[in-house]
Symmetry: C2
Subunit: 200 residues, 2 copies
């Protein structure tokens, strides 16, 4: 129990510090102080700050995707109303800090190959999860057959990430919500016409 | 002449180092070495690394907006074909480094008030420049009257920034181009119908 708690506290503290200050800006001493863990204990779990950071990003961001989008993909039809509600829900977003995944891509993708590989994987996971939702919406007859769901999933991801950035830049959460509303209008152009909808 | 060259070399070197490594990751010694300028000479122009960085961001990013989008706004009708061509043109973009403005927003907006104010101004300038293009397209009868150009300009900005981030994350320039193509399809839904177009 104690071991698990120590590891979890390190992961939580590393993620919070990196989200706040970036990887280069986050001091290991601050992470350890926040976690209430001695450096020696950290080495029992992680070789160094970088391994701790990469593990924290992988675990926390994956869990967040499952919480936010995975739940839609594993629910029941109709998928689009639930998906749109999740997209529009800004209540759990902290725009002042921005998206932890986007922040790390901006900061680290071009200066460290290990970060680049981890972030490429996480970004791919986000796109894949959104593609799964859109594929289910095609199967359920909400979206047209032949809709390029990979391309549309990329577009959704782009608007989410760009919207979070805009809200961070301006300090106005509406600068996230308005583009998401435009995105939803765009997705709706791929909806199956009512009179061609068939029951599965 | 010498004075101007020294200042320009400092601005160029600071911008390049910050674009490559971020503000916190860019060492003043590296900026000075790249510029070929002694620290003492720098103090003739800038009080410190931060003042140099803020000035470099303001001057270089503003000049880039004028080069890329301002030229469309000050051209002649029709505006949309030229605007779409500029949006789609990835030839001058370095996706491996990402957008210098977005990188700075991600890294600095929430941890330094001076950066926050400067970046808010630059991000607002980008949105305003794109709004001007869309307003001209309304005036010229390319877009519907009553089209919410402020909202659409925000959406365009969001897709540009999110698209650059996606291409940086994946290492694939097509992950910028495909979302821009979807964006153009969306903008086209605001086009005036041919038979309601009037000559100004």
């Amino acid at each position: 129990m104690e071991c698990k708690n120590t590891r979890e506290r390190l992961i939580d503290a590393a993620f919070a510090e990196i989200h706040e200050r970036g990887y280069q800006g986050a001091a290991l001493a601050d992470i350890l102080a926040k976690a209430g863990v001695h450096k020696g204990s950290m080495y029992h779990f992680f070789a160094n700050k970088k391994e701790l950071a990469l593990t924290a990003l992988k675990e926390k961001i994956s869990a967040y995707f499952v919480f936010r989008y995975g739940a839609v993909a594993t629910s029941n039809a109709p998928y689009l109303p639930r998906f749109f509600a999740v997209l529009l829900d800004a209540s759990t977003r902290d725009f002042s800090k921005g998206c932890p995944l986007a922040n790390m891509v901006q900061e680290m993708s071009n200066i460290d190959a290990d970060f680049d590989a981890t972030l490429k994987g996480l970004y791919g996971d986000l796109r894949a999860t959104i593609k799964t939702i859109l594929d289910k919406a095609v199967e359920s007859g909400e979206l047209k057959e032949g809709c390029d769901t990979a391309r549309l999933a990329l577009f959704v991801t782009v608007v989410i990430e760009g919207g979070i950035l805009s809200a961070k830049a301006s300090g106005d959460a509406q600068d996230f919500v308005a583009p998401i509303e435009e995105l939803i209008k765009h997705i709706e152009t791929y909806k199956k016409d009512k009179n061609e909808t068939k029951r599965a």
